[in-house]
């Protein structure tokens, strides 16, 4: 966190930068010569050498208030020891982050050097503001390479989280990968298993085999039969906020609706011209009708909750189940040890859709070359297998790895069962099911997404408030989408 010595810090930094650049030149020559010799001889020196080049630089990292960032913020010492670079981490809610990043890019100066680049709200709208990381991937000898190379990253996540429009350019390294899945109170489901099966006519144990209609029936059952144990059956993130779009999209896709016609390319690489919106289709309207019905049954606080709010309510024992990001597993485990189960979201007439919310970390193109290189060192370290394992195991809540090599570790395998040293892995089975191409939910990656997102969650919010009928909400959304996209 920064703010220290504001007036002098900046001038100090500029002074240091200038001085450093000058003092640096002779060493650069020596280094270049040195590494050539090093490569020829034993390669013992270059590793530390290449990490420690930017000693004394300070960089600023802006991130959403996610568990991996919390874990890294609490554990920066290894990086600082390795590189001598000071990192100031600013964490905030996603909406605020998007605003701040927008302001920062617009300011022409690089206030933040490392940027948490949400693929939809930051990467797609602001891709010109991010550095194409290929330049660091190619510069083998002056910056450290990625451990295990680019292929260690799960490829769909590399594409979805790191690229936009151009498959040759990489704007961000996959950093975290939260996915929306079904959280439920396994203890309560276990306790009432037989009675529920009897009353409902089906096995209520959450799984991908259940349908959204059955989800509704289960919620209603809890409301009627278990009020004393748990106030409400279901709760949702239905605030007039990006969270509502996330929650609604799962239902939208499950019913066969979608935002635009284009196929999976739209979610992976993105597009400049998405075409006309398909939100006015019958499937989309059916989804909206169901969602409206579901929210009438849900905990009344749902309309004031974003994902943090619904997680708090779930952890406080206010709701029996909810769709939410799997990264809350660690804090769930802290609040309700051993009581929480996970499953992929139920399916609709078309399929089960599980919203993917992964993000990469990128570098601000307004930063100076030195700062960019220092930033590269940081994002390299922050997404390395060792760090990803560290955040997974961290007490601060833990992220989820985006690298194959981390999942392959025996400790990670073992953690899938309780008692788990790595609580976030408890959701791993559900999450890996959710990541299958037929189950994953990817929203459109388009430059106008911030406006489209706002339109969608405003119209759905109006529907939930009773101001619009479901079909009106969907049709008006489609119309407004087309106005923004100029089709």
């Amino acid at each position: 966190m920064d703010g220290s010595n504001p007036v002098s810090r900046r001038s100090l930094l500029h002074g240091m930068g200038a001085f450093g650049a000058l003092a640096y030149l002779p060493f650069l020559q020596a280094c270049k010569g040195g590494s050539k010799e090093g490569a020829a001889g034993a390669a013992a020196e270059p590793v530390a050498d290449v990490w420690a080049r930017y000693k004394g630089t300070t960089i600023n990292f802006i991130s959403e208030n996610t568990p991996p960032s919390a874990a890294i913020a609490a554990n920066l010492k290894p990086f600082e020891d390795l590189t001598g670079i000071k990192v100031n981490i600013s964490q905030m809610e996603l909406t605020k982050l998007v605003e701040k990043v927008s302001l920062d890019f617009s300011s022409g100066q690089a206030g933040f050097h490392v940027i948490y680049a949400d693929p939809y709200q930051v990467l797609a709208p602001f891709s010109e503001g991010l550095v194409d990381l290929s330049k660091f991937l190619d510069k083998k000898d002056s910056v450290p390479a990625l451990e295990n190379g680019l292929s260690d990253f799960i490829s769909t996540q590399l594409d979805a989280g790191g690229r936009f429009l151009d498959r040759q350019k990489l704007y961000a390294l996959p950093y975290d990968t939260p996915t929306m899945i079904w959280h439920y109170r396994a203890d309560l489901f276990e306790k009432h298993k037989d009675k529920m099966a009897h009353d409902l006519g089906f096995d209520a144990t959450p799984s991908i085999q259940l349908t959204w209609e059955q989800y509704y029936a289960i919620a209603r059952w809890f409301d009627k039969n278990a009020k004393s144990e748990i106030p409400y059956g279901t709760g949702h993130q239905a605030k007039q906020h990006d969270a509502l779009m996330c929650d609604f999209s799962n239902v939208l896709w499950a019913y066969g609706g979608d935002y635009f016609q284009a196929g999976p390319e739209l979610g992976l690489t993105g597009t400049k011209k998405p075409g006309k919106s398909t939100l006015s289709s019958n499937e989309a309207i059916a989804a909206a009708e169901y969602y409206n019905k579901l929210l009438k049954l849900a905990h009344p606080g749902s309309r004031t909750w974003d994902w943090d709010g619904v997680a708090s309510a779930f952890q406080a024992g206010q709701i029996a189940m909810c769709p939410n990001w799997h990264e809350f597993a660690a804090s769930n485990e802290k609040a309700l040890p051993g009581k929480v189960g996970y499953a992929p979201l139920p399916k609709g007439p078309k399929r089960s859709a599980n919203m993917w919310g992964g993000t990469g970390v990128g570098i601000n193109a307004n930063a100076s070359d030195k700062e960019q290189a220092a930033a590269w060192l940081f994002i390299n370290w922050a997404t390395s297998p060792a760090t990803q394992f560290m955040t997974l195991a961290s007490e601060k809540g833990g992220g989820t790895p985006t690298r194959h090599s981390v999942y392959a570790r025996p400790e990670v395998e073992a953690a899938k069962k309780r008692p788990s040293q790595l609580p976030n892995i408890l959701a791993a089975e559900a999450v890996s099911e959710a990541w299958k191409p037929e189950n994953i939910g990817l929203r459109p990656k388009v430059a106008t997404w911030n406006q489209l997102d706002t339109i969608l969650f405003t119209q759905v919010s109006r529907m939930l408030a009773g101001e619009l009928k479901p079909d009106e909400a969907m049709r008006s959304s489609a119309e407004k989408f087309d106005v923004v996209n100029k089709v």
Binding site: P6, N60, P67, G111, F112
Partner: protein, 281 residues
């Protein structure tokens, strides 16, 4: 201070007492709850029904100063930006206020109108062009930028308020000084200005309060190097839940200094807040 003469109607006075109690409870309950909660251990805050008895703890305040979470740089920035802006506003405002009070010209009303309209400008509208300007001048993410932004509402306020105070200084005072051989400036500096000390203090305190409490400007113009205290609250909303313990502690830290400062100039508060339109105690 006027006192009601004791009348034969004792009943309404008791009614007033009860009503006054309601007013107090309505006004102070949230503040008291916030301060109390800042001393509660987190599990005691998160309960569905309020906890009245608990073991007080300083952990939230300690966490606010803890490594990686330190609010002290934020406090420093707040103090710098608010303080600098206040000093500039009061300084320029005293000079300007004196000038305005004694300027007799047909355009005076227009000038006064222009000054007050700058004070009334909606912050959201002002942020836009100021952002562009600050960007060009490299003032984003700087205390200087924040200081100037605060000056945009503190300065007109200070000019207007100080002019009201100066208008109340008897002209004979200044005349006597001039007769004694003082130049106009000396008369101003050594004779007139000291009599408006309450005005200077009140203006200073109010400017400080308005700047310290600002969120919109800070949110738009500050960067990692210049975040102020109100911005610190955003960090405490994490995906592990909102840290209400630290938030209430932070809230307490933000409001307490301003409450004390405001109460210190209570005597001239009405004059200050109405910019001289109403004088009262």
């Amino acid at each position: 201070m006027r006192r009601d003469r004791p009348t034969s109607r004792s009943a309404p006075i008791t009614v007033a007492g009860v009503l006054a109690l309601f007013v107090l409870v309505w006004t102070l309950a949230p503040v008291v709850w916030m301060v109390v909660s800042s001393f509660k251990p987190t599990p005691a805050i998160k309960t569905a029904s309020p906890t009245w008895l608990f073991a007080p703890t300083l952990e939230h305040y300690r966490d606010l100063i803890g490594a990686g979470n330190d609010v002290r740089p934020f406090a420093q920035n707040s103090l710098l930006a608010a303080g600098l802006s206040t000093v500039l506003a009061v300084g320029l405002g005293a000079l300007g206020g004196y000038g305005l009070a004694h300027w007799h010209h047909k355009s005076k009303k227009h000038l006064a109108f222009w000054i007050i309209s700058t004070r009334m400008a909606p912050i959201a509208a002002v942020i836009l062009p100021l952002f562009i300007l600050f960007r060009q001048l490299g003032l984003i993410d700087s205390i200087a930028g924040l200081t100037l932004a605060y000056l945009s509402f503190n300065l007109p306020f200070a000019i207007w308020l100080m002019s009201a105070f100066f208008a109340d200084v008897p002209p004979s005072l200044e005349e006597a000084a001039r007769v004694d051989g003082c130049s106009r400036w000396q008369a101003f500096w050594y004779v007139v200005l000291p009599t408006t000390t309450p005005g200077l203090v009140t203006t200073g305190v109010l400017c400080l309060v308005f700047s310290w409490n600002d969120y919109a400007f800070a949110s738009s113009f500050s960067g990692p190097g210049s975040q102020t205290l109100p911005m610190a609250a955003g960090r405490l909303i994490t995906q592990g839940g909102v840290d209400w313990g630290q938030l209430t502690a932070l809230g307490t830290i933000i409001v307490l200094p301003m409450i004390f400062a405001g109460l210190a100039v209570r005597r001239w508060l009405v004059t200050g807040l109405t910019m001289g339109a109403v004088t009262g105690e």
